[in-house]
């Protein structure tokens, strides 16, 4: 009997059909990846497996059987026995997925006691045991900590520990690594891999990241708009996708190895050849920048002695994990933050594109007005000229002039980011600092925005500072790269130097942590990581 058997599952939220006739099975000990962009219905499917839509107003149709329980027909107690007992779920954001008010060990014990009639003490012991199992050092002591005292990776381990506590037969992981840094992500994926090997647990992995799926599952299910697009063994689907959408999706994924995206042809490299990095006149030079937050004992040095120079027409990539100080650096470069030490000299207008297009546009003003802002602030009074310039910019970033009077919420994330780019272009800057400009976008959208930025760079001779956590994205757009860690630049150089022959151990670690699209390459990486960890 299959562990999970889903037949013609449909889920409707009001008039919106989130999942449309999805069927699949998961055999004991197997791993299935459900991959899709946002809005594809992949998480909704995962929720349906545990009957979590019950009582929320969503209507669920079709048959779902998990570990022998008919989820639709099960009574509330039966359902509760299934949840956590036979099938456990791990959620995306490990910070919010745990109750902030209770010790981690207590929370695991609480769940354990729901399913096993044991004493409080025994449940606590079990909690320590599973915490230890998922690799939390000094588990007995740490089990008394509250979630906020854990790092992101540890929280996710704790959540996995909670899932393991009752020895379920299947683990449903909903974007388990999305909120984590790439190195931590690798660790968690490795952990899942180990656990599976060890316990024969069935795994259903829901993710937007094809790379993550490639590393962890046997079979893959690609979803789009609530429907299954393609399914099959992971190697086959990734190597030879049969559907157009799958091909598109795969093509859009930036790659860490090789020559970058196939869709971007040569011109860029030609330009590079014509104007080697550092050849243009410098538009921005920062020396020994420092920024300290807080005071005395609580002082935290976000940026610690960073020097960068950006030349006309080039793209400088700045890559680093969360807390590396890359955003603080970016804000100092454009002048939004005053450095505590060092200096920034700008020879021309510098603008910025922000990470979250949702908050980067004033929701109460039309996008045209937002784009016109820099023009007006610079004293332009002629409404006709302003209008003409904004229209021109809108068209340039791939929108329509008629969009002038629309409000941000009428646009998709990618479109909003285009508006932000148009606003940054308005005062004709020579340099644009892009702070994670695509990290909140789906891969396909991400690719389009990256293309736009690249076009603009070439066309207008712009210099870009491209700040991102995603090594692949940075590699794809940059001429030179600086790797940041704990406020310092640990390594910098041309893309070829840094990615091809990393010198710093941290850079190596980062590169090894990037999931590979090819399952066999993934296995290789995994062993690489193990070696690196042993060396460290």
């Amino acid at each position: 009997m299959s562990l999970i058997e889903v037949t013609d599952l449909s889920v409707d939220f009001g008039s919106v059909r989130a999942v449309d006739k999805v069927s699949f099975t998961l055999e004991p000990g197997a791993a299935l990846g459900v991959v899709g962009e946002s809005g594809s219905g992949k998480s909704t499917v995962a929720y349906a497996l545990l009957g979590l839509h019950r009582g929320t107003g969503a209507s669920v149709a079709g048959a779902v059987e998990v570990a022998g329980v008919d989820v639709a027909a099960a009574s509330d107690p039966e359902l509760r026995a299934l949840r956590g007992g036979k099938a456990a779920m791990v959620f995306q954001d490990p910070l919010s997925a745990l109750d902030p008010y209770y010790a981690v060990g207590d929370q695991i014990a609480e769940v354990y006691r729901v399913h096993r009639k044991v004493s409080r003490r025994a449940a606590r012991a079990r909690a320590v045991e599973v915490l230890d199992r998922v690799g939390i050092a000094d588990a007995a002591r740490r089990s008394r900590s509250r979630p906020h005292e854990f790092s992101g990776g540890m929280r996710q381990r704790a959540l996995i520990a909670m899932a393991l506590a009752c020895e379920p037969r299947v683990l449903i992981a909903d974007e388990p690594t999305t909120a984590l840094d790439v190195t931590v992500q690798a660790q968690i994926l490795d952990l899942l891999h180990e656990l599976r090997a060890e316990t024969g647990l069935g795994l259903l992995l829901v993710t937007h990241d094809v790379g993550v799926a490639a590393e962890s599952v046997d079979d893959i299910l690609v979803m789009r708009h609530g429907k299954v697009v393609e399914r099959g063994p992971v190697g086959e689907v990734l190597a030879a996708p049969s559907q157009a959408y799958t091909r598109e999706l795969l093509a859009a994924v930036p790659r860490i190895e090789g020559a970058g995206r196939a869709s971007v042809p040569g011109p860029r490299f030609e330009a590079e050849a014509a104007a080697p990095a550092g050849a243009g006149e410098p538009v921005l030079e920062a020396r020994d920048l420092r920024k300290v937050y807080g005071k005395r004992a609580k002082a935290f040095t976000a940026v610690d002695g960073v020097s960068v120079a950006v030349h006309a027409g080039e793209t400088l990539g700045i890559v680093g994990e969360s807390g590396s100080g890359k955003t603080t650096l970016g804000r100092m470069l454009v002048g939004l933050l005053a450095p505590d030490g060092g200096s920034v000299s700008r020879t021309a207008e510098v603008q910025m594109v922000f990470q979250d297009p949702g908050s980067a546009l004033n929701p109460r003003r039309s996008i045209g007005e937002s784009i016109a802002d820099p023009l007006r602030a610079r004293g332009e009074k002629d409404e006709g000229r302003i209008r003409a310039r904004v229209d021109e910019l809108l068209v340039r970033v791939g929108l329509e002039a008629a969009h002038y009077d629309r409000y941000p919420h009428e646009f998709s994330g990618g479109q909003r980011q285009r508006v932000c780019i148009a606003r940054a272009l308005a005062p004709s800057p020579r340099l644009i600092v892009c702070d994670e400009p695509v990290s909140s976008l789906d891969v396909t959208t991400q690719a389009q925005v990256l293309d736009l930025l690249d076009e603009l760079r070439r066309e207008l001779g712009l210099a870009l500072v491209f700040i991102a956590h995603d090594l692949a994205v940075v590699r794809q757009v940059s001429d030179r790269v600086a790797v940041m860690r704990r406020g310092r630049v640990v390594e910098s150089g041309t893309v070829a130097e840094v990615y091809g022959a990393p010198q710093d151990p941290y850079t190596k670690q980062l590169l090894a942590a990037v999931p590979a699209l090819d399952p066999s390459a993934a296995a290789l990486r995994r062993s690489e990581r193990r070696e690196l960890a042993e060396v460290a």
Binding site: R331, Q355, A360, P374
Partner: protein
């Protein structure tokens, strides 16, 4: 922490989506209780505005004595049943003086509502100004304002009211003075809400973008912050109005509010308190009106809050995977 609580009261911290006036009305309309409350409030305001007209219609004057309508020997208890309610005196008469209760109630509505509204305006104006200044000014401005707020919060309303009433010349109309007193004492909540909200908004990227555009701080406050502050401020204000009505009534009860012969509901209740046994309508009518008014305004305030708070709609929708689109925050 107190700020956090107040902000919670006031509603959204996140910049609400551009829910224009239209969607506000749409959301307000869906709440039946709030709608009913709005009708009641509108009626009361109408009555207050039309006070001279209504009393003329009733053929009464709020200050005219009717010794013939009361039993002087029995302490001035109104003659006739139900406190003298009848064709002549629609709601009966005031014990002792025999003044027409309908006329006094109607004029009292003017004072009670007027004072509360004006006080709210004072509170919001002060609160928004000081809250914005604290959020946008440097550390010293912020410190100075928050210390000042602490002092005002710690100063008992009574002392402030009594002192101001004693100092300000009699030529200033009493209701205006009371409104200013209530306003001067009650702005700290608004200012804390505004400060917290403005600080939250200030860290949003569109404000940073506006700064990069080259706008001045003042212009940024006006264009980027104020519109987003409108929702919490309106929400908070809507809840302040009923509170202010109660405060005015309380001041009158303590004998330092509106002074007779000007009628106000609080003062009428105060004077009626001993008459509950012999002239119950004298107590019941203003007390229930006060109750209904405060209740309606509170319900309306709640309705406004819900209509302005985008979270109110999306709350409790488990499995709204869309909400978790933000992938990594890089700070």
């Amino acid at each position: 922490m107190t700020e956090a609580l107040l902000v919670k009261e006031a509603g959204a911290v996140q910049a609400a989506p551009a829910s224009g006036a239209r969607s506000f009305w749409r959301r307000l309309r869906t709440q039946r209780a709030a709608l009913a409350a709005a009708v009641v409030v509108a009626l009361l305001v109408l009555v207050a505005l039309a006070a001279p007209l209504l009393t003329a219609l009733a053929g009464q004057d709020p200050n005219a004595y009717h010794p013939e309508a009361v039993d002087s020997a029995a302490g001035g208890v109104p003659l006739g049943s139900f406190g003298g309610i009848g064709a002549e005196h629609w709601l009966g008469v005031e014990p002792g003086t025999g003044r027409d209760l309908f006329a006094r109630i109607v004029y009292g509505a003017r004072v009670s509502l007027g004072v509360a509204l004006f006080a709210t305006v004072v509170q919001l104006a002060l609160g928004v100004t000081l809250g914005l200044a604290a959020a946008l000014g440097n550390r010293w401005v912020d410190q100075a304002i928050s210390r000042f707020t602490d002092v005002v919060v710690a100063l008992p309303l009574m002392v402030m009211a009594l002192a101001l009433l004693a100092i300000v010349p009699q030529s200033v109309p009493r209701p205006v003075l009371i409104a200013v007193v209530v306003g001067l004492v009650g702005w700290s909540g608004t200012s804390k809400v505004v400060r917290a909200q403005a600080l939250a908004l200030k860290s949003l990227d569109h404000v940073a973008a506006a700064r990069l555009s080259g706008w001045s701080t003042w212009r940024i406050a006006r264009r980027e912050l104020l519109p987003s502050l409108a929702a919490p401020v309106i929400t908070y204000g809507a809840l302040l109005v009923p509170a202010n009505i109660s405060v005015e009534a309380a001041l009158s009860f303590l004998g330092i509010g509106i002074k007779p012969p000007t009628p106000s509901w609080g003062q009428m209740i105060t004077e009626a308190d001993t008459w509950y046994a012999t002239a119950p309508t004298y107590l019941l009518i203003p007390a229930s009106l006060l109750f209904v008014t405060v209740l309606s305004l509170t319900v309306l305030g709640e309705g406004v809050r819900v209509a302005l708070d985008p979270r109110a709609e999306s709350r409790l929708k488990v499995g709204a995977a869309k909400a978790r689109m933000r992938k990594r925050s890089s700070r």
